[in-house]
Amino acid sequence: MMQLVCWAVPVRGGYVLRADQAAHAAVQSADGRRPQFVDWAVAIVHPGSSGFAAERVRRPTVLAIESAMRRGAQTRPEPTGRLARLHRSWTSLALGAALLVLSGTHWVLALAGAWLLAGRPWMAALLGIGPSDSPATAWTAADVQVTAAPHAGLGQVGEALEHAPDDAGGYGQALAAAQTLGLDEAAEVYSALIKHPNPMALPVEVGMWTPAASVEDRALGGALPDVAEAPDPPGEGADAVADTEPGDEASDDPMNRLP
């Protein structure tokens, strides 16, 4: 089972879902794998607040991953690859052209020039040892297992956002925290939000907005309990999604005594 990561970046009133930078590479690399090894699990990393409902963001998460796939496919660097191949073989091409120019009536020189210019690439293609095109991606949204995992860094970013009095200041502080923590995905979301502070209007390449559970419940009429204020008792969570909590590891862990 291969794991993809989707970031649930905290914003005012909800989250922005964004696929991890490695998601596209993971899906591309699955092309050459046997089908039995290509099951997908998506881990949604979130700030760890009790208002996060993983089951509600399952569908937007899959959409965010698919959006990243499409973006990656559109930005495949084909011209760069051709340019690189040309750069690698420019010496042979130049020598081949020189041999043809200097050949005059000498057929041996002309043959050598033709070999360098066209003969070798043609023969390599004939023998099947040239670069091959990559096949279609193996990503399928069916049967994707979604899990949620609290991320300590996102939690710090979320706290920085909460303590700010207004949206602009909050996103500025959250951007600074995300940059300090090296959370590139979160930093890009906050950079976009500083320019346009409406998360619902974010371009799809930046991320997909989803409301927090409490906001959604309020919008639906307030009949349902507020998840943020009334978390489920242990063992009775409504989500079918597995949620791991920090600090589950054994306390006698040798690394806890470091440094």
């Binding site: 089972m1 993971a26 092309d31 050459g32 990393v45 000498h106 020189l109 360098l116 300590a152 860094g153």
Partner: protein, 227 residues
């Protein structure tokens, strides 16, 4: 690992040596801090992406070395005929063209040598693609050589044995810890900070002629602020 501004994860593994025939790949995370499940998920996701991207890019290595050799023989034959012709007909053209022949006529030979030398890496990469798997649950802070390395570098930093800058940390990894993975990690950090310098001529020539190991990426940076 400590960095100038905080700490970061890196994966100390040579993907070219990982063989799916030995069983599934186990990720073990070593950290002096408590690592949250989300951070572990990010590390594992990026490790898998890098590992299988490497395998996909290396899968073709060495597969067609006999066809590469066939192409090289053909090219060397043409080169032989050309050299014989230029020796038999010494002229200004022979002088002009002769010195440049190796630049054009050893490319197929070089490819064949590389393909032959890298066939084991290619076979391992294909096995990784076909049956490789990463165990779902990473091991957190298990015993082993890496644990001692991580402990020693943080302890040395606390005791002031070396300064908290990239060059000092790289030197400490090389001379005190004798840890090649950490040296490569800090060198990559330094290279990212500094503008790229031109390689020396000898290094460029060696890179051009000698078969080299496939390049595996150095995975995963998740920075933390300085504690």
């Amino acid at each position: 690992m400590p960095t100038e501004t905080g700490a970061a994860f890196f994966v100390d593994a040579d993907y070219a040596e990982l063989d799916a025939a030995n069983g599934p790949v186990q990720l073990a995370v070593y950290s002096p801090y408590e690592v949250s499940p989300g951070e572990v998920a990010v590390v594992r996701g990026r490790l898998e992406a890098d590992l299988f991207s490497y395998a996909a890019s290396a899968a073709e290595l060495g597969r067609a070395w006999m066809r590469h050799a066939l192409l090289a023989i053909l090219e060397l034959t043409i080169l032989g005929v050309l050299i014989a012709f230029l020796i038999a007909n010494p002229s200004r053209v022979a002088f002009i063209v002769g010195w440049a022949l190796p630049f054009g006529f050893f490319i197929a030979t070089r490819s064949a040598l590389h393909a032959f030398a890298q066939r084991q890496y290619g076979a391992r990469a294909r096995r990784l693609l076909e049956s490789g798997a990463v165990i779902a649950e990473p091991a957190i802070s298990q015993f082993g050589g890496s644990l001692a390395h991580v402990r020693d570098i943080w302890r040395g930093l606390d005791e002031g044995a070396f300064a908290r800058d990239t060059v000092s940390l790289e030197l400490a990894s090389e001379r005190l810890l004798r840890w090649p993975g950490a040296v490569a990690f800090y060198r990559s950090q330094r290279d990212a900070d500094e503008p790229s310098r031109p390689r020396p001529l000898r290094s460029r020539l060696a890179r051009l002629l000698l078969p080299k190991r496939p390049v595996a990426p150095l995975t995963t940076l998740v920075a933390r602020p300085r504690p």
